[in-house]
Amino acid sequence: MALRIDPSHNRFRDIVRGKIKQNLRKYISNGEWLGRKGKDVVSIPVPQIEMPRFRFGEQGQGGVAQGPGKVGDSLGSAEPGEEGKGKAGSEAGNHVLEVELSIQELAEILGEELALPRILPKGKERLITQKDRYVGIRRVGPESLRHFKRTFRQALRRQIMMGNYDPHKPVVVPAREDKRYRSWRTTPMPQSNAVMIFIMDVSGSMGDEQKEIVRIASFWIDTWLRSQYEGLESRFIIHDAAARAVDRDTFFRTRESGGTMISTAYKLCAKMIDDEFPPSEWNIYPFQFSDGDNWSADDTSTCMEVLKKEILPKVNMFCYGQVESPYGSGQFVGDLRTAFPEDPNVVTTEIENKDDIADAIRAFLGKGK
């Protein structure tokens, strides 16, 4: 049923998706759409556009509520005092609804909200997503699949029953209803052939905010790709002046200091691919996040060398997200763009703040490679 509200609703969704009215984008709050609770569940807030108005700042926040508790007890980070029930709204309240969803549902919503195309399966010779096996017999089918022996056996049986089989003159003529065909069933082959390699710069210039952005972006990429491939592998590499492979937990928590040599991470990544993930069997997605500050131009040229020869030929796509940092020079994204101006498999994007994360994910995954 068409509703009167539909145009307004579509309008809102278009604004949220960034299709129209760019000037409102800065007022969209997506809240914290990260937050993996327990295993499979996450809270999804609702996008909201808050028009700027004259209002009180930080000091004025807070309020009055009811309930037990001592002075100093925490009420959590969300603003309490929200009204529970919906009365006819005369004002646009600050409704932040927390919806708990399974990862699968979430990835679907993500796919819808971000308008991501499905990631396409790679060519057959590399990735067998399904296999046909002949498992039974049917009465209908193409002649090419006719089961000769069964058909004749059936014909023989019929002729005996009808009494027109002469053992002395063993002529068997299959009739139409005697014909038997082979039938097949399509079995999806279990897939364990995509790997994401997350590379993060943890040098001194990457602050907590930058890492938070990386964390959110990686989480969503992870979530999305997991919804596309079963048995997805993730690998994590952190680097400053040296690179090392770490587990997920370390990846998100480490803060190191020191210089930055991106080439070390690339070399490690290339090695990892060679040792563990032959590209003939794996979809490989490296995602690199950095503030774009590399140690030297020499190192940068080494990077491009490694990337060109050892990584790009083997991966589906190489994504580079540059997080804005007050300390970094932000040089690297430009270098990459200069080195691979035409290569559609190199995706670069700049992430200035949390609001740009959605754009970055769209840039990375929107291509459906």
Binding site: M1, L3, R4, I5, P7, S8, H9, R11, F12, I20, K21, N23, L24, V46, Q48, I49, M51, P52, R53, F54, R55, F56, G57, E58, Q59, G60, Q61, G62, G63, V64, A65, Q66, G67, P68, G69, V71, G72, D73, S74, L75, G76, S77, A78, E79, P80, G81, E82, E83, G84, K85, G86, K87, A88, G89, E91, A92, H95, L97, V99, E100
Partner: protein, 496 residues
């Protein structure tokens, strides 16, 4: 009362009539009320439009709809009741609700309609708002057809960012004398003289000095009058009257202002209005309407409506508790000098003069009070402790909200503070020709809390879109008087 427009099935109509009869028996006084049964989609749509079936297209209604439908899908909350302040009143029932829910909603809605009709703060609202909203929609659609969706919608956005700059009390108070007709010939300027004997006159009132004074006074008189003559709280009205707007823009701004004023009393009486309706649905249901078989379901749903989860402020709950508290006090004669001066705990606890004035008192409260005055007058220390109120604030170091006080004074102050001007800052127009350059000067009446500066700057940009000349805002930032200025391209700031 005839129900001409009602589309209710006969069974519900009978129930409505019976509830209305009981309600009148208790003294409720409401307009004819039309209930309409909607399916959940339509219900969400109407709710997104703020209760009105027809409004102009705008993304914020879409946003509201998005939130409502999501919260419906995930079972977070459902729309409980919806009623429009209009004569006749319109209210909606959700298709598929159980009969006990429908009864409860009808009883609740009658409470609201009684409140709309009788509460003083609603007395100046437009009672034909249903039609009016539809007219607004038509006008805006016409502008959209002529000027394009993007252009009109963007201007609506601008107006929305200003829609709290109204003076909710202005319908009740004449703030400005109507302009006196100019006197035809103002008397010549008189310079006051000191008394002097005639021979001393030219020493005590030297002619040079007198001439100079006269010239000064003359100049003063001829100086252009300040506009506005007094600081103006209704910024939207001021802009309507003074800003260089195209006629469609003026129309849009007028519509936004009109609707803002229409909704203002609902924002002013949230606690009292909801409390009143909850009080009456509870009373009507339990004492008159409820069928024995429905009792458990009713109790369950009622508990949901009145739930005060720890750390929540539920206006239904606070409103009904406070009304019952007032009723009890006046029933037992717990008011007046004698009561106030009694500080013996046991005497106070047992105090019961059996006056039975409670019902009368709460009817008076519903007629004369809004949230601010309601809380100010009846939110007592006893009530505060009994109901476990606390105030909370953000802890700067952890970023979490924490309980910061349970003392009655602090809690009440915080509550009153939040209800004053809807918890929004006072912004006044001071001068429309600031620095003699046609700049608009606004002043924030600082009462202890600074403005949100990012929002303020963005709002000033909206103002610039309307005023077309630089906007200045005087406020206090971290204890220092500052003037923010936006000239159309750049924001600047200086000390005052």
């Amino acid at each position: 009362m005839p129900h001409r427009k009602s589309q209710l099935p006969e069974s519900l109509l009978d129930i409505q009539r019976s509830i209305e009869e009981h309600a009148r028996g208790f003294g409720l006084d409401f307009w004819e009320t039309s209930f309409e049964v909607l399916d959940y989609k339509r219900m969400q749509e109407v709710a997104a439009f703020g209760g009105f079936p027809v409004r102009y297209p705008h993304w914020r209604f879409g946003m509201e709809f998005d939130h409502l439908s999501k919260s419906h899908i995930y079972g977070l909350s459902q729309i409980y009741e919806m009623v429009i302040n209009n004569n006749p009143a319109y209210a909606y029932l959700l298709e598929g609700n159980s009969m006990v829910d429908q009864k409860m909603v009808m009883a609740h809605v009658l409470g609201h309609v009684d409140f709309f009709k009788n509460n003083y703060y609603f007395s100046k609202t437009n009672r034909q708002m249903l039609d009016n909203m539809a007219n607004h929609a038509t006008r805006i659609r016409r502008h959209i057809e002529r000027h394009g969706l993007d252009k009109v919608e963007s201007f609506i956005d601008v107006c929305l960012s200003l829609d709290n700059l109204i003076d909710p009390m202005s319908p009740f108070i004449v703030r400005h004398e109507t302009v006196q007709p100019e006197e035809k010939d103002p008397p010549p300027v008189e310079v006051p003289r000191l008394r002097a004997k005639s021979y001393m006159e030219k020493f005590i009132n030297p002619p040079d000095y007198i001439d100079e004074r006269r010239r000064k006074l003359q100049e003063e008189r001829e100086k252009p009058k300040r506009n506005p003559p007094e600081p103006e709280r209704d910024v939207l009205l001021f802009l309507l009257q003074n800003a260089p707007l195209e006629s469609w823009e003026r129309d849009v701004l007028e519509i936004v202002r009109d609707e803002s004023y229409y909704f203002a009393p609902q924002r002013q009486t949230k606690i009292l209005n909801e409390g009143w309706a909850a009080y009456w649905h509870s009373k009507l249901m339990t004492e008159r309407i409820l069928d024995a078989s429905e009792l458990i379901d009713y109790a369950d749903h009622n508990a949901g409506v009145l739930a005060a989860a720890p750390g929540q402020f539920n206006p239904y709950k606070v409103g009904i508790s406070l009304l019952r508290y007032v009723e009890e006090r006046w029933d037992k004669g717990r008011f007046g000098k004698e009561w106030n001066e009694c500080d013996d705990y046991d005497t106070r606890r047992m105090w019961d003069k059996s006056l039975g004035l409670g019902r009368k008192k709460i009817f008076e409260v519903r007629k004369l009070y809004n949230d601010l005055t309601f809380i100010d007058e009846f939110f007592t220390e006893d009530f505060c402790y009994e109901n476990q109120f606390f105030s909370f604030a953000r802890n700067a170091s952890s970023g979490n909200y924490e309980i910061d006080a349970r003392e009655f004074k602090k809690v009440k102050n915080k509550l009153l503070y939040q209800l004053t001007n809807f918890g929004e800052p006072f912004i006044l127009v001071e001068d429309s020709n600031h620095d003699n350059r046609g700049e608009l000067l606004l002043r924030h009446r600082h009462e202890g809390v600074d403005l949100h500066l990012d929002h303020s700057r963005a709002t000033m940009a909206s103002l610039h879109r309307v005023w077309h000349r630089p906007i200045c805002l005087q406020t206090i930032v971290e204890g220092k008087a500052r003037q923010l200025r936006f000239d159309g391209t750049e924001h600047s700031e200086r000390a005052l």
